[in-house]
Homo-oligomer: 417 residues x 2
């Protein structure tokens, strides 16, 4: 894309009304726009990043056999009364509104109820399972405060998958598969090394649930990491019984602040019992379905990546989720430079490489400044100096030790494609 | 995809509580699920169709230079007060809800206000235009009644594009480009011949707006078509002045019921004046931006296609938006059939053809019945009879005159790919 066409502009300064680093940086670079606290619009660069994260998650959900659907935001009271989750006492972040006939309806904070009820129409027999259904859907949560940028929104995109199994063993196997799928997601988006499988409270459903916690000073949670095993314990569950269960010693644990980027949850038969999701097993007996839920907040994950990046020196997107693979800068307004840069843009694009081409009539300082804010991993500069050397200046910005090199364009294209 | 894995089941009968044909058929075939009146979840087959329609629209919006964003559902009162559109008198389909601190917020029915305000931060100079920004976003509209299935929902996916131009001429040129882009969309989804560019009321913004109306008995609108020119007039605008302006004779017009599948609207400077979206022109003068809006309801378009299909003999999706390109049916449970069908499934898939493979342990009657409900355009049947003839039985269901043929699989794959 030609940057002269891109409508979003960077700002000289970070917005004064944001405390979260992710919101400051993303707004300053023109990736997102604040509509109100906890409610952010995605601008072209931000949407490109979020779509890439979404696509990585989708691939991994499909790989474990997930079937994609899209449920609705608007929810009927009657359904949630059946699981006793309609009141503000049980779900304290409901947004409620009213139809014209004064019927109260809710905006979904999560989707166990509607999906479980929907599946009573499609699951009858043991032959209909195991089954995994997921969606990317906007959740609404009426948070009292919302100061964490896109990490804790009042309106945000979430991937939620629900599993439906016949036996506890089958559920446990699928749960383990999902653990691996989540690990692949976090590795692919570039935070695998900082993210720990964490034992957390199972609520009314189970002894434990499991969170994926990414170590960051911006985190709201405190976790205790056992580096030998690579597992962690959420502070709320750090007790003798958990330590014994996991066979770890308290003195081996290190404390860290962390952001919950995903969670997986055994639901047992809580929802299938309440909503009548049963099946006939091989012996013709009626049994309740055993469920699990598996969530990743897509915006939260993107915000976490920004927090991690921002803590390092400079702000560079991991390759897999960068809005573009290459930022091409044309320096100076000479015809030679323009012609060489136009040619390089065409050549990169025709090799299937995504390029943001800064073709604007702007100073080198402005172009480098914007390039630092936008954080595309590979920078290619073309100016009179590089033309004189028959090459382009390439910088791999993800490798802090690497220096810029002047290389022939063809060589650069080969190494990128 | 193997149909034995697909969780959605067809129903023997259409749902009794739906009056709209599109909802009856889509629910019966397992494409959608009714959460409440006007609120539908998309199941795997339905989501595949809607995603294909969305992608066709996206391609055409990108082709006219549209930049994709995603704005928010939650809206601040203050912003809409500035255009006098916060009250139920001006927008009678608002859903309103409240933050924890009792601040009232709305769920967006449309997005002129937030986008115009957002762009005051990014448009300053004549160099920043012309500009087109679009999104696919869930709209909420508190309709009094909602009986038209996915054609008029309370919650639905909409593509809305907004244009920002410097002069009336520039706006008019872009408006004409969008007209062509919309015509391409409707042609590609298979309703081009039934869809007419229709002169409609311009509201407080303009003399006219333009609707794309698809002729169907399920339509809520009445239009008058001039077959010579291919244009139409909405009943609300059928008057001497319109006839004169368009140079058509009343007696040449034929009346038809029609569904509005898209609309394009000159907005003038109504929103830019109210929200301060101005720019400096070449002479350094401050001018308001000239805007237009361009909407397509994605669900409504899908529902319209179903209504059109349902009016014909049988229910077959147009090729470009069918959930799969081929429905492969294995008849009878013999090892030979199973082996041949598995092989055909692999071969079709490795040729890049999307296949729904009915590998279920079910009777031929059940498989053909489901295949009729799902409406995939090409049907390939494998049974003992076809194996004896060294071929597969192919039916092109979109061509009502064509008959089934037994052909070698390789020949079928060649003609499909």
């Amino acid at each position: 894309m030609r940057q002269s066409q891109l409508f979003s502009k960077t700002r000289k300064n970070a917005p004064a009304d944001e405390v979260a680093k992710n919101a400051q940086l993303l707004i300053q670079a023109g990736f997102i726009h604040k509509e109100m606290a906890g409610v952010y619009a995605y601008l072209p660069l931000g949407l490109r990043v979020r779509n890439k994260i979404e696509e990585i998650i989708r691939e991994e959900m499909n790989a474990v056999g997930g079937q994609e659907v899209e449920l609705t935001a608007l929810q009927r009271e009657e359904l949630w009364q059946r699981t006793d989750r309609w009141s503000d006492e049980s779900i304290d972040v409901w947004f409620k509104t009213k139809l014209k006939n004064d019927t109260e309806v809710g905006l979904a904070t999560t989707h166990e109820e509607p999906l479980t009820e929907l599946l009573t129409q499609h699951i009858n027999s043991y032959r209909d399972m195991p089954l995994a259904v997921y969606q990317f859907q906007t959740k609404f949560r009426n948070e009292l405060r919302s100061k964490s940028g896109i990490m804790r929104g009042r309106e945000f995109l979430m991937k939620d998958l629900y599993s439906f199994c016949r036996t506890q063993d089958e559920h446990d196997d699928f749960y383990a598969e999902m653990k691996s799928a989540y690990e692949r997601v976090f590795r692919r988006v570039g935070i695998g090394e900082d993210t720990f499988y964490t034992y957390a409270d199972g609520g009314s459903f189970s002894d434990y649930s499991h969170e994926f916690q990414t170590v960051s000073d911006a985190g709201e949670d405190t976790i205790y990491i056992d580096d030998d095993s690579g597992i962690a314990i959420n502070k709320e569950m750090l007790n003798e019984s958990t330590l014994k269960e996991l066979d770890v010693e308290r003195e081996d644990l290190r404390e860290a602040r962390a952001i919950e980027v995903g969670n997986i949850f055994p639901l047992g038969t809580k929802f299938s019992d309440a909503l009548g999701l049963v099946f006939k097993n091989e012996d013709g007996e009626e049994k309740p379905v055993i469920m699990g839920s598996y969530g990743i907040g897509v915006g939260r994950l993107m915000g976490t990546i920004v927090e991690i990046m921002a803590a390092e020196d400079g702000f560079i997107w991991p390759e897999n989720i960068a809005p573009f693979r290459v930022h091409l800068l044309a320096l100076g307004g000479s015809d030679d430079v323009r012609q060489a840069a136009d040619g390089a843009y065409e050549a990169l694009q025709s090799s299937g490489i995504e390029v943001l081409y800064d073709d604007r009539d702007a100073s080198p300082g402005e172009k480098f400044g914007d390039s630092d804010l936008i954080g595309i991993p590979t920078q290619i500069v073309i100016g009179n100096q590089t033309i004189n050397k028959d090459g382009v200046e390439v910088t791999n910005r993800l490798d802090k030790d690497s220096t810029s090199e002047i290389l022939p364009l063809s060589e650069v294209i080969n190494s990128l494609s």
